[in-house]
């Protein structure tokens, strides 16, 4: 089981760039997500959260769910966005396979985010190996200019 998930950067063929990376944290799950844009970085953070509960690469993309969330600042927006994964899992048994078309907008200081979640409903063939209780502000970091990065600790 590798610690890193690799992907090829668009625009930089042949340059390997990881989507996210987990760090040592005594009790919980701490990760950093990366991307070419802040939007892509948020999308990769969503995959990192999913990876704590199921293997998102194995999830069929049979269902699409439109997500729209708001936050007073970027940190709050990110936390609320990632908690959407937990909410959809608990209430609709939805397993996230990808977070696409992420768009961010700032209006009068408040932030809003739109995204398209693709995935499947939990059924026997998928292994759920963990639970995430919440997304926290603990050690949260957002770098909103290149190199884009978010750091999050999830309570598990």
């Amino acid at each position: 089981m590798s610690f890193l998930r690799d992907s090829y950067c668009r625009g930089f063929p042949g340059v390997r760039m990881e989507k996210y990376k987990f760090f040592h944290h005594t009790a919980d799950a701490k990760f950093q997500a990366f991307g070419q844009t802040l939007e892509e970085t948020f999308a990769h953070a969503a995959l990192a959260v999913a990876s704590l509960m199921w293997d998102w690469e194995k999830i069929a993309k049979n269902i699409e769910i439109s997500v729209a969330v708001e936050g007073k600042d970027l940190e709050q927006l990110l936390v609320i966005f990632l908690e959407e994964i937990l909410y959809l899992f608990d209430t609709r048994n939805f397993l996230l396979g990808s977070a696409d078309n992420v768009s961010l907008e700032q209006n009068d200081g408040d932030w809003s985010l739109h995204a398209l979640f693709r995935g499947d409903v939990c059924a026997g063939e998928y292994e759920i190996f963990g639970g995430v209780k919440a997304i926290t502000y603990n050690e949260i970091v957002i770098s909103d200019r290149a190199p884009f990065l978010v750091q999050v600790v999830a309570d598990i």
Binding site: A27, Q76, T91, F129, A134, N138
Partner: protein, 473 residues
């Protein structure tokens, strides 16, 4: 940071730089070394800076870094000046432990333990990604949140006697489900009567050692090899959502300026938002009590079916690990009402407290401390001294030592199951990877944690139990 040694197992961060009170840590040198490796001490210091904090901020022997408050943190606040903080309770509101005794010995169940475990696995839904088997209306769920374990008993899950042997009699009276968000209720609906994932478990255990025979007898623990059942779970998504909701409401209303840590967001106890959080948190506490009540009922049914009888399967006790509540404590010689936060800590009231059931009042309350998967757990008894030393609180478990990713990298679920089987421990889980993440080696030594609790006097050893069968969610 200056750390003063008070005695063998007590350390103090003296009051300085914005702290309203000192912080006290109960730990051996070995446990303290672990605590120094993360942000526990800084977090304890941050808690000591909060408005209206009384006497001292306390850190239990199993402490580790949390969010805002450390896990294993205890703090009490003045009702007029003080605050209430969702970060001081944690996301898994009323994560807790219930212990049932049986009249069976290891010998009695030896041949049937595989079947027992398989049946428990069948009857108690892990409920991860699939929900539980209990389908409720929204109105019924609100009733669960208002009445807690009492709702479960009224609806045929368990016995009246269970209620008096549950902290708060299984019901926080101040709960008001009308303050719960739509999302919290939605998450709660499919999850009532489910165990959940992570470190939650049901264990069939045997008593392996009795340290205090007199107290053990009062708790219904009579001999080595007696079979017990321990249930460890919490308020599931409903409780998680309550914490997230109120953190957000508080930051939006009160702002985050000046907070050393965003997760320390809080509201005055005497404010509308503080009041609403307390009543919502109480509703989540009740959900968790009802949850454990239902699971205990199903476990008894399995024993009835497999062993032919569930007689004598009385509840020893049920304790909360993550909670805020109003209690009376003696502060500077005066009895005072305070709002106590226990985050990853167990109440440990000594003899005489009116909050503990009459049958235990002469000896003190049972304190249940679960170990990690496949290792020992302990039954302690609350002490008078704990009220002076930690507002009547002690440790709540082993505490993780290693991240889940690290555990998954180092261990394999199949191998762990095999190792446990060699030790005579049956294991059932929905996931091999989940087992690897909960590997016993990923946790601190629970033996050391309870030894320090005992030596410091905040919870005295009564009995040790070891698993015979484990169901992991």
């Amino acid at each position: 940071m200056e750390l003063k040694r008070i005695d063998a197992n007590t350390w103090e961060i003296p009051k300085h730089a914005g702290m309203n009170v000192p912080a006290v840590i109960y730990a051996s040198e070995k446990l303290l070394a672990g605590v120094k490796g993360d942000k526990t001490l800084q977090q304890a210091k941050n808690v000591a800076c909060l408005r209206g904090i009384q006497r001292k901020a306390y850190v239990m022997p199993d402490a580790h870094q949390g969010y805002g408050f450390p896990i294993g943190g205890v703090a009490a606040f003045d009702l007029e000046e003080g605050i209430i903080s969702p970060g001081g309770v944690g996301y898994d509101i009323n994560c807790g432990v219930r212990l049932l005794k049986t009249d069976y010995t290891e010998q009695d169940i030896l041949e049937k333990r595989k079947v027992l475990l398989a049946e428990i696995f069948k009857e108690v839904p892990a409920g991860v990604g699939k929900g539980g088997t209990t389908r409720l209306s929204r109105r019924a769920l609100e009733e669960v949140c208002a009445k807690g374990a009492e709702w479960a008993v009224t609806n045929g899950y368990g016995m009246k006697d269970d209620l008096q042997k549950t902290e708060e009699n299984g019901k926080m009276k101040e709960a008001d489900p009308s303050f719960l968000s739509q999302r919290a209720l939605e998450r709660g609906l499919p999850q009532l009567g489910t165990l959940g994932a992570g470190n939650h478990f049901i264990e069939i255990q045997k008593v392996s050692e009795i340290f205090d025979f007199d107290v053990a007898k009062v708790f219904g623990i009579n001999s080595v090899d007696q079979i017990m059942v321990m249930i460890h779970c919490g308020s599931r998504g409903l409780g998680h959502q309550v914490a997230s909701d109120y953190i957000r409401l508080m930051e939006n209303k009160l702002g985050i300026r000046g907070l050393p840590d965003r997760e320390l967001i809080n509201a005055p106890i005497r404010s509308d938002l503080g009041n609403r959080y307390y009543k919502s948190m109480s509703a989540a506490v009740n959900f968790a009590f009802a949850n454990r009540q239902m699971i205990a009922h199903w476990v008894r049914q399995v024993f009835q079916k497999v062993m032919g009888s569930s007689e004598g399967m009385d509840q020893v006790y049920d304790v909360c690990h993550n909670v805020a509540k109003f209690e009376q404590h003696t502060i500077e010689g005066r009895i005072k009402n305070v709002c106590i936060h226990r985050k990853g800590a167990t109440r440990s009231f000594g003899p005489g407290r009116r909050e503990i059931p009459e049958i235990y009042r002469a000896v003190g309350q049972p304190v249940l401390i679960p170990g990690s998967m496949g290792t020992a757990s302990y039954i302690l008894v609350g002490t008078d001294k704990a009220e002076e030393l930690s507002f009547g609180s002690t440790a709540h478990g082993a505490g993780r030592l290693m991240s889940r990713h690290e555990a998954r990298r180092r261990f394999r679920g199949e191998k762990i199951k095999e190792e446990l089987e060699q030790k005579g421990i049956e294991l059932r889980s929905t996931s091999w990877r989940g087992i690897a993440e909960e590997a016993p080696h990923a946790y601190k030594d629970v033996d050391e944690v309870v030894r320090i609790s005992h030596e410091a006097g905040i919870g005295q050893l009564v009995a040790k139990v070891v698993p015979v069968g484990v169901m992991k969610g």
